[in-house]
Structure formats: structure tokens, C-alpha cells
């Protein structure tokens, strides 16, 4: 790595990387504890590995929280900047990914609040940015629009719970750990969010595949 240069790492997202089978927690992946230790020790290669490993998931969560590719990139940058800044606070006994998820949700929530003065609907997802994304096919464009419209009616807490539980496949306990609240709270948010999305998706006239 060149000194003083800002190295860009391309995070190719594989679909299977976003799925975690149930029963495997975000922090139960092999080598994550040693990665945390190496991050604490200050290895730059460990930081690169963390970015390569977690950036797709962080970016995916940020996109679903913010609905904008550019904002998701900014959020991911902020998350990994905080990982670098607070690397000494990492606890090797605890999983790294839930902490990154919580950072991502907090950063996304802050970015949504910043939109408040210039947007009529505070936590609304910007639907125009969907078309500015990199959707390859009309099917992808339509899927992004549908997903954005479904998540748009949720507040950030409900959105984070739905994305982590229903879209990224984590268990309720893992979501509660990642978001720092009780499982009952997560269930309440999931309940409200699913009922809201039922109405919104029904209103869109979507047909089940």
C-alpha cells in the first residue's frame, strides 16, 4: 500500500455473502475473534481484510436504510472510519459484525435526520435515487423501486429490524444484540413493520412470484 494514499478496495458483493444461515450468529464466523485482535494490534492488513469481508453487508444494510447508493457509500465510509478510529475499544470476546451493524444503523439514522430540514417527509427514502443507481435490468429497477417503497413507510428502527431479520436473515436474538435492545422490542418493531409493509405492498398491487 502506498503511503499517504487512499486505497480503494472494490467490494464485489456476492449474493451468498449477504445470507447468514440461521443459527450462525454475526459474530460466530470463524476467524472474527482473531481479526478483532489483529485490528486492536494495529495491523493494516487486518483492516483491509475487515473492509473486504464486511463492506458488502454494511453497504447493503446502509442502502436499505437510506435508499440511496451514494448515501450508502458515505455511510459505509463513515462506519469503517469509526472502526479505524475506535479500533482500540474493540472487545475480542464479542463479535465484530453486530457492532458494525449498530454503527451502520446509527450512522444511517444520523444521515436521515440531516435530511429533515430539506425534505418534507423526515425519514423518507429518496425514490429518485433508485433510478440513479446502477440497476442493470428493468427487473432490477422494478425490484429496487418496490423494495424502496416498502421500506419507505417504516421508521429507522423498524427498518433496521426488518432489514436485519427478514432481508439479511439474522435471528431475533442477533438483531437484538446488534441493535442493542431486547428481543421483545425487536419483535414489536417487526410486528408493526410487517403489518405496515403488508398494506404498502398490497397497495402497490404486487403479485407474489
Amino acid at each position: 500500500m502506498d503511503a499517504g494514499a487512499c486505497t480503494m478496495i472494490h467490494g464485489g458483493v456476492m449474493a451468498q455473502d449477504l445470507d447468514l444461515p440461521s443459527g450462525r450468529g454475526p459474530g460466530s464466523r470463524s476467524g472474527e475473534g482473531s481479526l478483532t485482535l489483529r485490528l486492536r494490534a494495529g495491523e493494516s492488513l487486518a483492516y483491509e481484510e475487515a473492509v473486504r469481508r464486511f463492506a458488502p453487508r454494511i453497504r447493503a444494510l446502509a442502502w436499505r436504510m437510506l435508499g440511496s447508493g451514494e448515501d450508502a457509500e458515505d455511510a459505509a465510509q463513515e462506519v469503517f472510519l469509526r472502526l479505524y478510529r475506535y479500533r482500540r475499544r474493540l472487545d475480542p470476546q464479542r463479535a465484530l459484525l453486530p457492532w458494525l451493524y449498530r454503527l451502520t444503523v446509527n450512522v444511517s439514522r444520523t444521515m436521515l435526520k440531516r435530511r429533515r430540514p430539506r425534505r418534507a417527509q423526515p425519514e423518507a427514502l429518496p425514490s429518485d435515487t433508485v433510478m440513479n443507481g446502477t440497476a442493470r435490468t428493468m427487473e432490477a429497477v422494478d425490484a429496487r423501486l418496490t423494495l424502496t417503497a416498502a421500506l419507505q413507510r417504516l421508521n429507522p428502527d423498524e427498518r433496521a429490524a426488518v432489514v436485519l431479520r427478514d432481508l439479511m436473515g439474522h435471528s431475533t436474538a442477533e438483531v437484538a444484540q446488534a441493535l442493542g435492545c431486547r428481543e421483545g422490542t425487536i419483535r414489536s418493531r417487526l410486528c408493526r413493520a410487517r403489518l405496515k409493509m403488508k398494506d404498502s405492498i398490497t397497495g402497490l398491487g404486487e403479485v407474489a412470484p
Binding site: 480503494m8 458483493v13 469503517f80 416498502a150 417487526l190 410487517r194 403488508k198 403479485v207
Partner: protein, 208 residues
């Protein structure tokens, strides 16, 4: 129980988040409540649509070549132990600073203990100095050598001609002949200091 609660349970039941006992009660209710059954069906459909759209979006994201995450700039380091080296540099700088401070303090005490004046005053005003050992060579020395007169260095002689204060011999002092003999043995040393001003000459009597 009203159907609103069963709707909330159905929202959890659809993804398996409902407990076993509540699930059994909900299933029993669904058999006799078409409205709640329709709600559960709509929930399943919306969840399926959501997951299917998310799958398509993920596949689209997987084809994206561009998304990048910038790594903060690190210092060049072949071993990758960047922060260890940063700590090492910090430690070296701290040790170097402590060593410099220790040397300065030690030098200060050495100079103080060796009676080496740390401050000599305005150097530019003193051009040269000469020692006069002969009592005859200096008029002040001659005054000091006189019998019943004791020459004292005046404290107000700075920057002007030395004017020694004269006083009579004290009652307890030795006789004049004895003091004259001592003065003859050890003549006082007179230091003549030339300054930048040619009209100003400093004469100092150094008592042995």
C-alpha cells in the same frame, strides 16, 4: 380475544417469531376466522414479495463493479505493523526528550557547583581586563597601603571611577605597622576593566 391481537401474532407467526403456545392458539383461531386467515395470507405474500425483490436487488448489487470503500491512509510499512511502529516512534521521541531535559538539568547543577558564573553581564561593554599586582602601580592600591586608612570597595562604583570610602582604624584592629607589613606581603590585586566608552574605566580591588 379480539382479532387485532391475532393480527399482531400473525405478523410474528409468518416468520416463525411467535412462541409455541401462542402459535397453537393462533392456528386454532385461524381455523374459524377468515379475516385473520386472509391477513396471514397477505402477510405471507408481502414477505415473499419483499424477499424476492431483495434477492433481485442483491443479485444486481453483486454485478456492480463500482462500490468502493476507502481505507484511511496508512504509513508505508512492509510488515503491516503500522501502529506498533507509530508507538515505537512515539516512545523514541519521548525518550529523546527526557534525555535532553536530563542533560540540561545535570549541566545546570554542574555549573552551579563549579562556581562558574552562568551570567557575566553585558559582554559588549567590557573590552579587556588586566591584573595589576603592584601596589605602586595603582593609586587605589597606594591608598589601600596607607597606614590608618582601610580601603573598602564602594558598592556605587559601577560604571564610573572607583571612589573608595575612607575610614579611620577601628579600636580592635591591629596596629598600623602590623597591617602595613601584611599589606606589603600580600599586595591587593587590582583589576582594570576597559569598557566601550573610552572615558569609563572600572577598577576593582580583589581582596585575597
Amino acid at each position: 380475544m379480539r382479532c387485532a391481537r391475532y393480527e399482531r401474532w400473525a405478523a410474528l407467526y409468518v416468520e416463525g417469531d411467535l412462541g409455541t403456545r401462542k402459535s397453537e392458539r393462533l392456528e386454532a383461531h385461524l381455523e374459524r376466522c377468515e379475516r385473520c386467515a386472509a391477513t396471514l395470507k397477505a402477510l405471507r405474500r408481502s414477505q415473499a414479495v419483499l424477499k424476492e425483490t431483495d434477492r433481485i436487488v442483491r443479485e444486481d448489487e453483486a454485478r456492480e463493479p463500482g462500490p468502493t470503500v476507502a481505507i484511511p491512509p496508512f504509513h508505508a510499512c512492509g510488515t503491516g505493523r503500522v501502529f506498533a511502529i507509530e508507538h515505537g516512534r512515539f516512545l523514541l521521541a519521548t525518550l529523546a526528550g527526557a534525555a535532553v531535559i536530563t542533560i540540561l538539568v545535570a549541566l545546570h547543577f554542574v555549573l552551579r557547583s563549579g562556581n562558574v558564573p552562568l551570567h557575566r553581564g553585558p559582554r559588549s561593554t567590557i573590552r579587556s581586563a588586566e591584573l595589576v599586582r603592584s601596589p605602586v602601580a595603582s593609586p587605589i592600591a597606594r591608598i589601600a597601603a596607607q597606614p590608618d586608612v582601610v580601603a573598602r570597595e564602594s558598592s556605587s562604583s559601577r560604571g564610573s571611577v572607583v571612589r573608595p570610602r575612607l575610614s579611620r582604624r577601628l579600636p580592635g584592629s591591629p596596629p598600623a605597622a602590623v597591617r602595613r607589613a601584611e599589606d606589603t606581603k600580600r599586595p591587593p590585586t587590582v583589576v582594570k576593566i576597559l569598557t566601550d566608552d573610552p572615558n569609563v574605566v572600572i577598577l576593582c580591588i580583589v581582596d585575597s
